[in-house]
Amino acid sequence: MVLTSAACSTPPTDPDARAAYDEANDPWEDFNRYIFEVNYAFDQLLFRPVAGWYRLALPEVLRDAIHNALRNARSPLILINDLLQGELDRAGDTAARFALNSTLGIGGFIDFAEDVVGLKFHDEDFGQTLGVWGFQEGWYIMLPIIGPSNPRDTVGLVVDGFIDPVGLALRFYGPDWAPFARTVLTALDLRSRNIETLDEVERTSIDFYATVRSLYRQRRDDEIRNGAPSANQGVPSITSDPNAPLIIVPQRQGMAPLPAPRLAPAEQISLNPDE
């Protein structure tokens, strides 16, 4: 697949710069950085302050109860993705959690399953399912408002919206405002729990955009593996061996070769994928 666009950067010719370009896997970087700036402005002006007020206005007990209820309402979607990934043990955990918390946990407001039984929450989404099925992430994209993503995770997000049982139930049987209220609460919950973490990343990094890009990719990779160890994708592991290579050609672990969207001018297009 070859996309041609004048707005997009062409791969650099210098080998070092080219290797850095491949490692970043971000051919739309200029445009993405622009969206990132817009998102950042919105966040600082609106989302972060509102998340701060949310945290001040509501006592922790209530915020935790809302957090639990939102997670519980997400459980059927997580269960579907557990099953699609063939993770039967984890599907069992999710189903048991949903049953326990919806009843003994009073509609999900209390995380009875974790607090009493010790069944811990885990998240899944269709982007991860696609990853487990062997789909490549593609390349990095910055979505307006939503933030870091890639084609695989964007497709996942859309599919999740169509298959989420609680979302569908709310849309067809609930009051008109219910889906919107759920989205707003989810955003408030997420942002209010990450104020310090994101501030810290911004404070400690030099290039906030590039750091977030790396953290997003690493985090998604870890989520897809459900935390199991793996070689780091495309990046050599750090070692004290002075002879170890500093450059490793990006070779994503255990997946098909990257169908890279080479945003090259038409005359550079070659049928040979190695070029």
Partner: protein
């Protein structure tokens, strides 16, 4: 052949594995056990410093400088996060960079620890990967979910040193390498651009730590 020390070293691991039934008991070598002891000791000394509420910020930064120099393989980390620019850098550039890099890292940790509120480190399991020992641990936070953190440790001429910290699957070294590589790129591939950016960062962090 099992030496007595190895057998004694394995015992805590068995106890640990029994305490955490979800994880399979890893056969820990003497090497891995020594790495575990090293990390536990470093964590204990760090927490000891953090609990000394009467230390001034400059005193804390000085203490962290010693702990950090002991605990982390700064030249290796610096070389790794500099990425490809390292191979082309001159010796004076490398020396300046490593000095500023160490300063920035120590200040970052010193400021990060300002928010310390009773977190503890529990080591859950050990794994060997080539020369490196990977320790899986949990940072246990009072009243909050614990954080999964892996430590990459290697034994060098000066004993055990930390090479990388991987929090919830995200490696600090790899994120930093991406950060620095972007900075170098934005400066037309000039290593001096990164050194200058780090110097600016150091000034900012020193102001935040009220050292200037």
């Amino acid at each position: 052949m099992l030496t007595r020390r190895a057998v004694v070293g394995i015992l805590p691991c068995i106890a640990l594995a029994a305490a955490v039934p979800a994880r399979p008991a890893a056969a820990a070598s003497e090497h891995a056990e020594a790495a575990r002891a090293f990390l536990q000791k470093l964590a204990d000394s760090t927490i000891e410093v953090l609990n000394k509420k009467d230390l001034t910020t400059p005193q804390k930064v000085e203490t962290f400088r010693r702990l950090f120099a002991d605990g982390f393989d700064v030249p290796t980390i610096g070389r790794f996060v500099a990425g490809r620019a390292w191979t082309k850098a001159t010796d004076p550039q490398k020396a300046t960079y490593l000095q500023v890099f160490e300063d920035v890292t120590i200040l970052t940790w010193a400021l990060r620890f300002e928010q310390y509120s009773g977190e503890r480190l529990t080591i859950d399991s050990l794994r060997e990967e080539g020369k490196a020992v990977l320790l899986e641990s949990s940072i246990v936070r009072p009243g909050k979910p614990s954080i999964r953190v892996d430590w990459r440790i290697e034994k060098g001429p000066q004993g055990y040193k930390i090479l990388d910290i991987v929090a919830e699957g995200t490696s600090l070294a790899i994120a930093q390498r991406a950060d620095y590589s972007a900075v170098i790129q934005q400066n037309n591939g000039q290593f001096d651009g990164l050194i200058q950016a780090l110097k600016d960062k150091r000034t900012k962090l020193r102001q935040q730590a009220k050292l200037e």
